[in-house]
Amino acid sequence: MDFDWMKIPYAFLTVFIVVNYGFLMGALIQKIGARAGRRHGIPIWQYYLDVIKNYGLRTSITHGVMFYLGPVFRLSGGVGLLLFMPVIYGSYMFSNFSFAGDLILALYFVFFGTLGMALGAGESGHPHAAIGVTRGLQQVSMAELPFAMAVFSVALQYQTLSITEIVAAQQGGMMNWTLFTNPIAVAAAMLAFLGSMMRPPFDVFIAPQEIPIGPPTEYHSSYLALMQTNRAIFPVAKIVIYMNLFFGGAGSWPELFVKVFFLYLFSAFVGVCFPRFRVEQSIRFFLVWAVPLGVLSIMVV
């Protein structure tokens, strides 16, 4: 198999665009959330400043090797997810390293960062971190189940495991989107989406008001800055998967920006409307509402 070296700088370009978009969109969503509370909220460039400040701190202490690797795993989870799928449909520049079975890899990468975080937070030795990451893993694994079912349903529907082919099958008008051809799977997946976006009502494991911010309790300086960078990349990468699977993909960057923004806004809207679930409540929620939908979507297909 011959490898096209030109893809590497293109991949860097993708990551660069997504990081900047992620920072700005994250702050914008934060501002929208603040408006719901009648505040003005953070300046739109606040995340850049936070990251620069954290990279610029002069000291950082370590708790061991896994403590180093936690944020690295997390970042590689986000970047890996982004790089192994077609970000822009039909574009040679931004199809990145997608291949025939990339759907399976994407499913794995969605979970990869959380696992890395679990190891890192465990090594930090702080009880809040250990409790937080345990809760986080429980909830994310539970949210992953309906998503996985929805993905299988979509794979069955289009008879392929390649994201590019799934996007290709949805072209030619809005009515071809999975949203309309397989609405049950999309419903299950969107419930799972809420569970993994780290926003209310499903953010009890990372909320500052609960056990102080959970897994990243001990993380600071550049470790935290790496994780913040990932907080910009990972949601966008995850939403790009959703967009590709269920909402017809994107043919250009502006289309991608708009679709990703509205999908992100969906979780923000739910977040400002509903109070926080405890972990056992959210697990029950997924078991009662999302998993049956996932099973049903597979049966219908």
Partner: protein, 215 residues
């Protein structure tokens, strides 16, 4: 100074029946004293970092006295300090601004010192209210410290009893100016005069049960 029994060196029997020696202060903590951390080698980079630091003040959410109640309204729609790049962090590891809000009893001083030392360089301290300047209305109390400056390096005082949230917002703006001029080097000052600060702290804290520096 006496060490508390749980911090003494002792033999411990593990769950697998193996006996081993534990020296808590050495095994669980790092006792190395802090060192002066120079800024970036190139001045313009340091200025850039200082600019970013001034725009992103993360406050440790730790209220020591009655002044803490003046910090809460800053999160509400009426004052909304987030507009100015001020945010609250629940853990000292991520915070870089420590507000000593009001009087500080000697018992709380110990916790304040631990929290301050766990913050990462550069870190800033604001003394809120008259109590941190000269004891305020607690000037003759046996149980509160009078001059915060003797125990932690303070960058800025906000006088009043109590200062209104507006005064705090003005104080943040003043703090940003100090940071931008590169004069907010409290952490390095603490490291330079470490012995003096420790002597002052140990003079009022009688049951000292922690290492000299909490990493």
């Amino acid at each position: 100074m006496t060490t508390k029994p749980e911090l003494m060196k002792r033999m411990v029997k593990g769950p697998d029946g193996l006996e081993f020696e534990v020296d808590p202060l050495r095994d669980y903590y790092c006792e190395a004293p802090p060192t002066v951390m120079p800024g970036a080698y190139i001045q313009i980079v340091e200025d850039f970092f200082n600019w970013a630091r001034s725009k992103s003040l993360w406050i440790l959410g730790f209220g020591t006295g009655c002044g803490a109640i003046e910090m809460r309204p800053l999160m509400t729609p009426r004052f909304d300090a987030y507009r100015f790049g001020v945010a609250w962090r629940p853990t000292p590891r991520q915070a870089n601004l420590f507000i000593i809000s009001g009087y500080l009893s000697t018992k709380t001083l110990k916790r304040a010192i631990r929290a301050y030392e766990q913050m990462q360089n550069p870190k800033y301290v604001i003394g809120l209210g008259s109590c941190t300047i000269n004891g305020g209305m607690y000037w003759d109390s046996y149980n509160t410290i009078k001059k915060l400056d003797e125990y932690l390096p303070v960058d800025l005082y906000i006088a009043g009893c109590m200062p209104r949230p507006e005064a705090l917002l003005a104080g943040f703006e003043e703090m940003k100016k100090i940071i931008r001029t590169g004069k907010a080097e409290g952490a390095n000052q603490y490291a330079e005069n470490f012995a003096w600060y420790k002597a002052n702290q140990k003079r009022v804290i009688h049951d000292w049960d922690m290492p000299d520096y909490n990493w």
